[in-house]
């Protein structure tokens, strides 16, 4: 192995041995678990879920959890040429020796990497081809909520937060192993655990028009509806205090402190806003204690407060103040992503951000108030302009704006609204007296393409076709002409593919497998993304991509993910769908409960 490492870029992607890596004797545990992240090391190690589960599994004496990442193409080539099987970083043992492989599904564009990793491990791609003695292959994470497009590849899926359910599965595994039962008996066992979905236990039938007719169980142990798991009290959860410190400069090279789960806001395009409901916070005291321990165990120079909408933490300012007081003398910085910018947070940013490298970020997502009402983004032009005014007066000169194009009901007036808003920000800057502002204004407008996602009120909408998206991008290119404004956009093909796959059903599995066979991998890396190959894969497997991405789905249609229950009612999504069409805003959870259905659990924000 050593001689091969000399030939690849960044060999430390494959060597492990970082500070706080867990070392165990694999022969002394009952369950060997491989946490598989279908992207490179630097991205995987920036993922909080990996850290949480790694820690949780390794706190058990009977289990050893190791990490596996997608090898970069140079390493893959060497592995294939020399018949080296995919291995885990800790023991360097190949995956076939493990009891369970758990993939995390963070984005659809990683699906071909999963197949590539299974292939490199010498494990059959299809669940039905795996035999006794082979590892079980499972998956969880946000994309698992629509497991259908990859249902054939996994033995089972886990819905929702993994802390409890993964431990229950491990217990069941160890018991099953001791009793020396068959593979199918294990699947029957876990199918009874709340939150576990075994796709092979369901048969799907289709109507003549191609829509789904029904899901029929073919095994008595399977559940009709699979309900996501949630953790009731985040304060009593363990947290990965023995935080692995990578040698490589990873994407998020810092301590990540999770303040809460969920988001109170319910922007109608945002899957995260629904699947993680309800909002549950960690107490300020617990967070301060964790921060202290994590810095002590890592020596990191930065703590980032990570949650969906950071400033919605109820005691946000006092927490930030306390952390600054504690850590500033130790030269540890605080980073505050996804902050809603107002005058108080500006002061705070001033305090933590001595170097103004990154600038201020706003995500209005749509250009007019009308369309912002449609998507339920409660951010007004006035909010943005007054925050910009204050920011310019206190020395900021860099503003980043994030928008989406192709949102439901969008017209060219809304696109003109993007142009107008950007121009008004420029005007706001010049309205500030020269002596009070910093020279060199830069306004960056980034426009991504709307992707309708399952478990959002927009799940029934179709996506614009590629031509329409390109025309809209051209409109912005041609109209954002001010010298201070920079326009960023991406080729729409990748967003189109994302929509196709995200809303896919089981018939999509063959297409994904074919795309892999044709050589697709690292699809989220622009340099490898090959739209033509994907289109070829759809054609060869008789999958009509536009059926999934562009078709407007009827409200009464059976959706491919209807047997998954995220605790938010489908009726609520229908209500929100109509509210969107009526341009009616829904208040956030703290203003007024909208009765989404999660309240029946009686926890978190629903009972505050």
């Amino acid at each position: 192995m050593d001689k091969f490492l000399k030939m690849v870029e960044k060999p430390i992607r494959y060597t492990g041995e970082e500070v706080n890596m867990c070392k165990k004797d694999p022969s002394k545990v009952k369950c060997r678990y491989a946490f598989c992240f279908p992207d490179v090391y630097e991205i995987g190690m920036s993922h909080l879920g990996l850290r949480i589960l790694y820690d949780l599994y390794n706190r058990r004496e009977d289990t050893y959890c190791e990490r596996v990442f997608a090898p970069w193409v140079d390493m893959e080539q060497i592995m294939r040429d020399n018949d080296i099987k995919l291995f885990a970083l800790e023991s360097k043992d190949e995956l076939m020796k493990f009891d369970m492989l758990g993939f995390t599904l963070q984005y659809e564009m990683s699906y071909t990497n999963i197949l590539n990793m299974l292939d490199l491990a010498g494990i059959p791609l299809l669940s039905k081809d795996r035999t006794e003695g082979m590892p079980f292959v499972m998956a969880g994470g946000p994309c698992a909520y629509n497991p259908e497009p990859i249902a054939d590849f996994f033995d089972f899926f886990v819905m929702g937060e993994g802390e409890e359910v993964n431990m229950e599965i491990t217990d069941a595994y160890i018991k099953w192993k001791d009793e020396k039962k068959t593979r199918i008996e294990f699947l029957e066992e876990v199918a009874q655990i709340e939150g576990v979905y075994v796709p092979a236990f369901y048969d799907v039938s289709y109507n003549e028009d191609g829509t789904i007719k029904e899901y029929k169980k073919n095994n008595a142990n399977a559940k009709d509806i699979i309900t996501k798991r949630i953790i009731k009290d985040l304060d009593t959860l363990t947290y990965p205090e023995k935080w692995i410190v990578p040698y490589l400069n990873v994407v998020h090279d810092r301590v990540m402190l999770e303040m809460f789960r969920g988001c109170i806001r319910g922007c109608r395009f945002c899957q995260a806003g629904y699947i993680y409901r309800p909002v549950r916070e960690k107490s300020k005291e617990r967070l301060k204690e964790l921060a202290k321990n994590l810095i002590k165990n890592t020596g990191y120079e930065e703590i980032s407060l990570t949650s969906l909408s950071t400033s919605d933490y109820r005691e946000f300012h006092s927490l930030a103040d306390d952390l600054i007081k504690e850590f500033k003398p130790k030269n540890v910085n605080l980073s505050l992503p996804s902050l809603r910018i107002d005058s108080i947070s500006l002061k705070l940013l001033d305090e933590v951000n001595q170097v103004r490298k990154s600038g201020l970020t706003f995500a209005p997502e749509a250009g007019t108030q009308r369309l912002r009402d449609v998507i339920n983004k409660g951010l007004t032009e006035e909010d943005i302009l007054s925050a910009c005014d204050k920011a310019f007066r206190s020395g900021w000169n860099t503003i980043k704006l994030y928008f989406m194009i192709g949102l439901p009901t969008e017209t060219y007036d809304d696109l003109q609204g993007i142009v107008d808003l950007a121009n008004k920000i420029v005007d706001t800057y010049y309205a500030v007296p020269k002596t009070e502002r910093t020279k060199g204004l830069s306004v960056t407008v980034s426009a991504s393409t709307f992707v309708p996602k399952p478990f959002t009120p927009f799940q029934w909408f179709g996506q614009d076709d590629i031509e329409t998206i390109k025309q809209k991008q051209d409109f912005l290119k041609n109209n954002l002409t001010n010298r201070a404004i920079k326009f960023n956009w991406h080729e729409p093909e990748i967003s189109v593919l994302e929509a196709i796959v995200a809303k896919g059903d089981r018939r999509m599995c063959k297409a994904i497998q074919r795309a892999f066979e044709l050589g697709c991998k690292f699809d989220s890396w622009g340099e490898f993304f090959d739209y033509e190959k994907w289109m070829q894969a759809f054609k060869e497997t008789n999958v009509e991509p536009k059926y999934y991405s562009e078709r407007k789905i009827g409200l009464d249609e059976r959706l491919p993910w209807d047997h998954i229950n995220i605790l938010v009612n489908k009726d609520f999504f229908k209500r929100e769908y109509n509210n969107a069409l009526n341009e009616k805003v829904t208040p956030n959870c703290r203003q007024n409960c909208a009765g989404c259905g999660v309240g029946k659990c009686g926890i978190g924000v629903c009972v505050e």
Binding site: I12, V19, Y247, N249, T298, G299, N331, Q354
Partner: protein, 220 residues
């Protein structure tokens, strides 16, 4: 207070590049309770200065780093504390209080490397040793080197080689012991020696090679 530390870098961590090694030491020191002295300015840093960067993939018995602390500490304790928090593969072997105000970098004079090379089994090993000795017996030894502007240029490495010895250490492996100039003025990158051998022996397959820095010699 400046403490000069000598450390080893073993196989486990040999692929960690120079910048990553610096970061590893910084964080390691921040995990201890030592009286850290931070630099002044926007981005206060732990004050560490290394002697001579070690190439990626190279192991060493002889690395030096200076650490500046706010107060005086016991050198034995310092060594113990750092070794308990450094990752496996790094080992501090000696610590002294340094009186020398010159930067470590400017003190580097020479280095001794051991280069292990493993050949295909069926090659005549004695003959290979002879060939390699001949290469380095020449008056001028030119190698290709990537210059400042990414251009490949030819350089003569002979003046930087102080001594070179080749010996057989196994059925199909040899060891080249290279004593050469090192530091900011005259420096020889041992990889160039490996490249030279590879080029001259084109046709003979080299299965693997390993570079080890046995000694870094400082000016007194």
């Amino acid at each position: 207070m400046i403490y000069r530390m000598k450390f080893e870098k073993h196989d486990e961590v040999k692929y960690i590049g120079h910048l990553d090694t610096m970061r590893t030491f910084t964080r390691c020191i921040k995990r201890t309770s030592l009286p850290i002295k931070f630099s002044k300015g926007f981005n206060p840093r732990v004050q560490l200065s290394f002697a001579l960067p070690l190439g990626v993939g190279v192991t060493s018995d002889s690395e030096y780093v200076d650490l500046e602390l706010e107060d005086e500490v016991d050198v034995i304790e310092l060594k113990k504390e750092l070794n308990s928090t450094l990752p496996d593969g790094f080992k501090i072997v000696n610590v002294i209080k340094s009186e020398n105000s010159k930067s470590l970098m400017s003190l580097v004079k020479e280095a001794i490397y051991e280069i292990g090379i493993e050949f295909e089994n069926d090659d005549d090993i004695e003959e290979l040793v002879q060939k390699i000795e001949n290469i380095f017996a020449q008056e001028v030894i030119e190698v290709e080197k990537q210059g400042k502007n990414k251009k490949i240029e030819l350089v003569n490495i002979k003046p930087n080689i102080l001594d070179i010895e080749v010996e057989v250490i196994g059925f199909s492996s040899i060891r080249v012991t290279l004593h050469c100039n090192a530091g900011s003025e005259n420096n020889l990158n041992p990889n160039l020696v490996v490249d030279k051998i590879k080029n001259e022996l084109a046709g003979t397959e080299i299965i693997d090679f390993n570079i080890h820095r046995r000694e870094l010699i400082l000016k007194d």
